[in-house]
């Protein structure tokens, strides 16, 4: 069962997907403990040791102008608040490492989603209580290309429209691209940029990654397409090389809920950066 602290942030807590509920909860708990400890100490001392201007006071440390005062220290205490935070940091680093592969992948990494699905094969994604994350039998590869100021999608070898379909949407009165995916499927997005650096943010999934302009993203062969893509014999597009060879960025997209949400650009890229939108639709 997934529990999320601060339900007032609740279901609208778009930035924190279920994959990271435990991590978020741990950080919130430790934030309260550390903050609470510090603030109670601060308020206690600032009130308890209060005195008035002109009131007599005990000059314990020999404060005198032109004289370096007596040292006021305690080696044990200073070591204690060096070592204890260090242990906390080691712990937080360890728990932060765990869920990383689940959503942020190198091209070759095993994300726990098996191998690439065969044509028409389904991922059958499920929630693993033991691992605290989604697992699947296989995944689909799709292509995302950023340009000033919009997005191009291609379903590549995922030719079943139910699994992946590219279309258009109107967002805030502006035409934009849309990508329709299927709930319960896992997608590996191979991503490139046609001009400057962009960063797609799949808001409801909390996924973001920079996409860099590279030579592969140019149209050097003059066919009107990024050279990352090549036309196949059956009229579909495919990647012109492996993801690693093309230097494409990759992220996992586990389509867990039925919803329509926005894809934003979160690496500043010029005039229409704020309107560099696309709509992601996940259907049942």
């Amino acid at each position: 069962m997934r529990v999320r602290l601060f339900p007032s942030l609740g279901d609208r807590m778009a930035g924190i997907t279920p994959l990271f509920d435990n991590l978020w909860n741990e950080y919130i708990i430790w934030s309260f403990l550390v903050g609470g400890f510090t603030f109670i100490w601060l308020y206690h001392h600032s009130l308890w040791y209060k005195s008035e201007e002109g009131e007599d006071w005990d000059n314990k440390d020999g404060i005198e102008v032109g004289v370096f005062p007596k040292h006021y220290d305690n080696f044990t205490l200073e070591i204690a608040w060096t070592v204890l935070p260090f242990f906390l940091i080691v712990y937080l680093a360890l728990i932060s490492w765990g869920p990383l592969d689940a959503i942020w992948s190198s091209a070759e990494a095993d994300g726990g989603y098996g191998d690439q699905c065969a044509s028409g094969e389904l991922s059958n994604m499920t929630w693993s209580e033991s691992e605290g994350r989604y697992v699947a039998e296989c995944y689909h590869i799709i292509y995302v290309e950023a340009y000033q100021w919009g997005w191009n999608f291609d379903c590549l070898e995922v030719t079943v429209p139910d699994l992946c379909e590219v279309g258009t949407a109107v967002i805030d009165g502006t035409p934009a691209a849309s990508l329709t995916l299927k709930q319960g499927e896992v997608y590996l997005a191979a991503m490139g940029s046609a001009d400057v650096t962009h960063a797609p943010w799949f808001v409801s999934w909390g996924v973001k990654e920079d996409v860099l302009y590279s030579q592969g993203s140019m149209d050097l062969n003059g066919d009107g397409l990024s050279d990352n893509l090549a036309l196949t014999e059956n009229g579909d597009y495919a990647l012109s090389g492996s993801i690693g060879e093309l230097g494409l960025m990759t992220v996992w997209l586990p389509a867990d809920n039925v919803e329509n949400f926005l894809l934003l650009c979160t690496e500043y890229c010029g005039d229409n950066h704020a309107y560099m939108l696309a709509q992601i639709n996940v259907h049942a």
Partner: protein, 786 residues
């Protein structure tokens, strides 16, 4: 007859001026018409004056344009020598004061790297009419169009009486905000900004003049004012340069604040059109650049200039003239950075100036070149400042003041300048590369030519992350001084405070990769960077706990600077806790570039650095001016600013978690078609914007307090708070030179530090001896004093 040098120079200038006047200011080529003066001088390359037989025309204009709507226009001309059978027929240049032109075919092209100017292409040189699209601006101001057309005979000669040209002017009104027959002009934010800057400058000038008048009302005359102001402009005295830095820093803090208010007005409601996207991008770029480089850094240098020589018992900095040069580079840099803004083409890259956008000559603004040039000036200034402070602290400490007896504020300036000195060259290199890419055409960041945009990210963040500590560490020094003095105790754990600051200085250089977690970093390096970044919390935690323990058993006196120091502890702790979310890579993928980040760094940079500066102002103002500040006004300032500040930045955490992206000109509330931000996000944004105005205005209480106290405040004693360091030994304000007297090349009567800890006097420890050898290699184990 022999000409003297002046005559020769005048003659040379006259010839050059004549050549400039005679030379065509506009180029008319088969590949297009353009030139910097075409809108004012006309297309004089074809003839000295226009010819009325050539008639220019634009078809397709609406009576009034709708915001953001695209219109198909047809540009044409009749008359002149153009006729069928010519090798070429003519060309055009169309300029608009706003909106965006788009070529629709191969006959036209955007001109001069601008979207508001369009001309024919080489293929288009064979036509007399051309088609193009123009997208109206988002705001409803009138748009001016200037069309130039050439009618040519096709012989390839641009000048002479045969080719002819003419000009046509149009003004297109907007349908936006029509009231009866009156169409109101939308406010031009740059004009508003310029007006506010000029008003602020005028107020500063009036305040300075009034201060001078009040210092001696009976002796006031312009004859005495002139040498007084000249003395300030040419001074090498560390205190006066400190004051200049301080005034410049406060001025730009206000300017940066005004730009923040523009940003907040834009974001007060979703879909607001107070600023265009283009303007918004320039405002947030200039806000960040101004606050970091033109406000925070000068304020640090202001306090450092004032207090470091006083605290170490030195008469001045080691290199006073270099110090003056460091300061005067700053206004020059600022002028360059702002030049782009007032041309309407200000830098629009964000303060991070990411490549390759920063070298994008098509969509990026010309102001990016000025931005890079101005920043290079600031890099030079910071480097010279670093040399000066490191030298001063290393070799000019008073007798008896070893490294481990320096006041913690001086330690903080030493650590900050060491960090700056080691990191800022990387930024300078990157800026020069950007400048060369933009001006000379080199290809450091041109991907097509094999350039690597990630190189900029590395160079920038190798500097950029330590820079964040450069601006916060001096605030640590201030808080250490203020809390210890207010508690009437020695700082708890002096040595661990020094090592913690030094530790932050070292770790600062191995954490910058966390800014690049989402740029394809290798998994192993991600983990290493995650751990090193988290490690920053250890020395920072030591400092916070030591500050708290300093109060233990003390006698805390509540003065305004004490309130700001306690406020700092609250806000900086909150900023530190939220900062722990980012090194956690899995969290960072969610929170990166969201308003959670904006909240975090404003809690650190405003709640930390600025609150630290406020504490410093109230703490050292009596020393600097000889006048006590009003405590009631100070308390009112603290209460209003502290509450409104938290009203601005605390809700931003929530907005970031909800998914509001930073550097976006607007935000999207969920609709039936898609989910994004909840409707409450609009309410919170409005709340933040109102709080921002209150926070901005609350700081005028402090400015008023400074002015009133300067004029009417009670006289300050030498040591009003009971501090121990040397600045409290000298008079308020201190004389010049600050300590001692200089006779026959020798300083006399410089102060000597005594130590209440007898066992360490004159016996520097192993660390102090090692550090001394590092800083002053020619000296043996003896600690150096001047």
């Amino acid at each position: 007859m022999k000409m003297n040098n002046s005559s020769r120079a005048i003659a040379a200038l006259a010839v050059m001026a004549g050549v400039l006047l005679l030379a065509p200011l506009v180029s008319s080529l088969p590949t297009g018409i353009g030139g910097s003066s075409i809108q004012t001088a006309g297309c004089n390359c074809h003839n000295g004056v226009s010819d009325s037989s050539v008639v220019a025309d634009i078809q397709g204009f609406p009576e009034q344009y709708n915001a953001s709507e695209t219109y198909s226009l047809s540009v044409s001309f009749t008359g002149g020598p153009a006729q069928a059978g010519n090798a070429n027929l003519g060309g055009f240049n169309l300029w608009a004061s706003d909106g965006v032109f788009s070529p629709t075919d191969g006959l036209t092209q955007l001109w001069g790297g601008s979207v508001t100017e369009i001309a024919h292409t080489e293929a288009g040189n064979d036509y007399t009419s051309w088609a193009l699209d123009w997208t109206a601006p988002e705001s409803g101001k009138d748009v001016d169009f200037i069309l130039h057309v050439n009618s040519v005979n096709g012989d390839g000669v641009q000048t002479g009486q045969i080719d002819q040209w003419n000009r046509a002017d149009y003004t297109l009104q907007s349908s936006f905000g029509v009231i009866g027959d009156v169409i109101p002009e939308a406010p031009e934010p740059f004009v508003v900004l310029a007006t506010l800057i000029l008003i602020t400058l005028a107020l500063v000038a009036i305040t300075i003049l009034y201060g001078f008048y009040r210092s001696d009302p009976d002796g006031f005359s312009w004859e005495t004012f002139s040498p007084w102001i000249a003395d300030w402009l040419t001074t090498t005295d560390h205190k006066k340069i400190g004051t200049l830095y301080f005034l410049a820093g406060l001025f730009f803090l206000g300017i940066g604040g005004i730009m923040a208010l523009f940003i907040r007005v834009q974001l007060a409601t979703p879909g607001n059109d107070f600023l265009t996207q283009d303007q918004y991008n320039q405002f947030f770029t200039l806000h960040g650049t101004t606050m970091i480089f033109l406000a925070a850094m000068p304020l640090i240098n202001g306090f450092a200039n004032w207090m470091v020589p006083l605290q170490i018992g030195a008469p001045d900095l080691a290199m006073p003239r270099l110090n003056a040069m460091s300061f005067w580079l700053q206004p020059v840099g600022a002028l360059l950075i702002f030049t782009g803004v007032f041309s309407g083409q200000g830098a629009d890259t964000g303060w991070t100036g990411y490549a390759p956008y920063v070298v994008d000559m098509v969509n990026g603004h010309d102001g990016n070149t000025f931005w890079a040039a101005g920043q290079i000036m600031l890099v030079a200034s910071s480097t010279l400042t670093g040399v000066n402070f490191l030298t001063t602290i290393a070799v000019m400490r008073a007798e008896g003041m070893g490294w481990m007896q320096m006041p913690l504020f001086t330690w903080s300036i030493l650590v900050a300048n060491l960090m700056l000195f080691l990191s800022i060259p990387a930024f300078g290199v990157g800026l020069i590369q950007v400048y060369l890419d933009r001006v000379v055409g080199t290809a450091f960041y041109d991907v097509g030519a094999g350039g690597d945009p990630l190189l900029w990210s590395h160079l920038f963040w190798y500097f950029g992350h330590p820079e964040v500590y450069v601006v916060i560490v001096p605030a640590f020094g201030v808080i250490s001084e203020v809390l210890a003095t207010s508690s009437r105790r020695s700082i708890f754990g002096y040595r661990s405070m020094v090592f913690a600051m030094a530790g932050i200085g070292v770790v600062a250089f191995i954490v910058y990769g966390h800014h690049m977690f989402t740029s394809g970093m290798s998994p192993v390096l991600r983990f290493v960077t995650m751990v090193t970044t988290m490690l920053v919390a250890v020395p920072t935690g030591i400092k916070i706990f030591n500050w708290l323990k300093t109060m233990h058993g003390g006698s805390l006196v509540y003065r305004t600077h004490t309130l700001w120091a306690l406020g700092f502890l609250v806000t900086f702790t909150l900023g530190g806790i939220s900062g722990m979310f980012f090194p956690s890579i899995a969290m960072d993928t969610h929170l990166h570039e969201s308003y959670f980040v904006v909240a975090h760094f404003h809690y650190v940079l405003v709640g930390g650095t600025v609150f630290g500066f406020f504490a410093a102002i109230y703490y050292w103002y009596p020393k600097m001016t000889g006048r006590m500040m009003d405590e009631r006004l100070g308390t009112l300032h603290f209460l209003t600013a502290f509450i409104s500040y938290n009203g601005v930045f605390w809700p931003m955490h929530r907005l970031g978690v909800w998914g509001m992206a930073r550097r976006h000109h607007t935000y999207f509330i969920s609709t039936d078609d898609f989910s994004n931000l909840p409707p409450e996000a609009a309410d919170w944004n409005l709340f933040i914007s109102v709080s921002a105005f209150l926070f901005f205005l609350s700081n005028f209480i402090m400015v008023a307090n400074m002015v009133i106290s300067y004029l009417r405040g009670s006289e300050a004693p030498a040591d009003p708070w009971g501090g121990w360091s040397f600045e409290w030994m000298t008079a308020s304000p201190p004389p010049t030179p600050s300590f001692g007297r200089y006779e026959d090349g020798v300083w006399y009567d410089l102060p000597k530090l005594r130590d209440a800890n007898e066992h360490v006097t004159s016996e520097p420890g192993r660390f102090a001896r090692w550090f001394n050898r590092l800083m002053v290699p020619d000296d043996g184990n003896e600690e150096v004093t001047h």
